[in-house]
Amino acid sequence: MFIADIRKDFYEVVANQRVVLLVAPDIDALCACKILQALFHCDQIQYTLVPVTGWQDLGTAFLEHKEQFRYFVLINCGANVDLLEMLQPDDDSIFFICDTHRPVDVVNVYNDTQIKLLIKQDDDLGVPSYDDIFRDEDEEGEDSGNESDEGSEPSGKRRRFDEGAVERRIERQRAKREWEARRREILFDYEQYEYHGTSAAMMFFELAWVLTKDTKDMLWWAIIGLTDQWVHDKITNMKYVTDIATMQRHVSRHNHRNEDEENSLSIDCMRISFEYDLRLTLYQHWSLYESICNSCYTSCSFKLWTLNGQKKLQEFLADMGLPLKQVRQKFNSMDMSIKENLRDVIEESSNKYGMKDIRIQTFGVHFGFKNRFLASDMVHATAALLESAEKDDSETDTFIKALDALSRSNIDRLHSGIELAKKKLIAIQQTVASCICTNLILSQGPFLYCYLMEGTPDVKLFSKPMALTLLCKYLLKAFSLCSFAHGVLDVEKGTVIVVGIPPESETSDKKNFFGRAFEKAAESTSSRTLHDHFDTSIIELKTEDRSKFLDALITLLS
């Protein structure tokens, strides 16, 4: 069921209890986790935090903790599947689910006792009504009850009653079949597309606000959570802009609270500011030139993998009057005179080159003299740490590192994340260039398909879901056509990771049908697949089954 009052029905319920936090591996979940941890520290609510990377992990973690804990909080996992069916909990386990995955499974919506959804109901959910999907069992009993009654009637009247009874029974069965067919249709419509709702970090920030315990750190984490949804293309532009406006109200509120003419804050205090900044990834921590070359938006607009594209870039820079020497330097070392009006200058020139959206609404943070970060910088850095392909790090190790990087006291970790992010972006750029230049992208009818063989440089980097998805989107933008599926080989396990993304368009509603498509294709070909990721559009498949799976997918989607 949906929780109406997050303070009364969630926070006060867990206030004197011990809780298990099960957190999914994405940046929004990490931010939501930080906010919740801060709140729990405030009120001394004891908890145990367990990172979970997929459904199997979730199941294991639940089994390990179910004896000792009654309350489970799931962050960015659990809403889109029948949780009670999957975990088979005892009657006294209670699950609080704050998850951006949609559609929310109907069982989760209509369960009154054990599942509590920390999701806003006005969030464009389209949940089918109860009567359309659930049928009371009494009606079945009525049938048999009537029959047995009628069976004891005296034989004289029996024939007439029997006919009536038979007719009524046939009628009931027909109605039931009709109802079931309609139910299947409704459920199919409801469940066919996967998409995302409001950021989990924003939900928990709202909780903090309602409790008047919100701090600037929590606000910053909420902003990062929202930005993660935008960077990884999980929400529509409109939703992003709406949510930015919500965050802006909070930012103004926080900024007005502390500063006035007499008491100005020390330079070390944290300041969050609204920025209408450039869409050049990590540009303030890199050189402008590298950032332009490795940002998806600019690279695809110029088509920088072609010679023509390179030329256009040089023209673009010349048009703005930016000397190459300056532009290749570290951003912080660029001349002040150039940096001053940089954004406006770039915006003007970009319009001439067909890049209308070079600027985007976002937020930046500023503490101490050296530390300035944009929200997107934080997202890229933390994502790179989360999915870093170090040999010795298990997935929980990287989770911990990424979680640490979100604290302001771990600036070094954040900087190392930024360096990793740069490498990742360069790797993506190079892979895209080579895929396009060597024609690795195949058209399979209803979708484009690209397969990275083992031995491709950086293939280990792309065996992680977020990096792979980014690569996909980049490739798709570069190709700008239909929907896209992508496979990456993981040699050790003999499996392929497949990601499917919907067609690219300005007004796309970001709804992904690949989840259901993958399921059906796997079923119909009995391919050995592992649907372990919380995002249903990412699966693992045995290498040998790849071709028949693809064939089934093509038939399904044509």
């Binding site: 004891q46 908890y47 145990t48 935090l49 390990e64 911990i400």
Partner: protein, 157 residues
Amino acid sequence: GGLCLHRENEAKSEGRAELIPSIKLRHCCLLRNQRCVTAYLYDRLLRIRALRWEYGSVLPANVRFHMCAEELQWFSQYKKSLASFMRSLGGDEGLDITQDMKPPKSLYIEVRCLKDHGEFEIDDGTVILLKKNSQHFLPRWKCELLIRQGVLEHVVS
């Protein structure tokens, strides 16, 4: 000292005075060795005393393996002495001064598990599973021992 003198006198009386420097030298060496051994044993003693503060009153088997019987006995006497001292503080209940070695900043702390430790019981009987890389928010006094042993790490944010 006494023995040396005795031997010296013997040497003198037997008319073999040229042996006296050798005797003195040998004696100095013996004394020095005795001092070294005593210093070593004393250092061990100080470390064993520190073990009580670090590990608590039950020593792990691998530590006990390296101690001789007399040292174990000394340890147990030290334990008793410390316990009766602690009982004498703080009125009727006594005061456990081996807790909170540094002034605590908060009642509950966030800890991260560095290695798989299995189940861990806290005061009210509930059991927490300490799995590698899980994080927990627990009362400080329960965690101190495990932090000292390196199983948990205090997370400061």
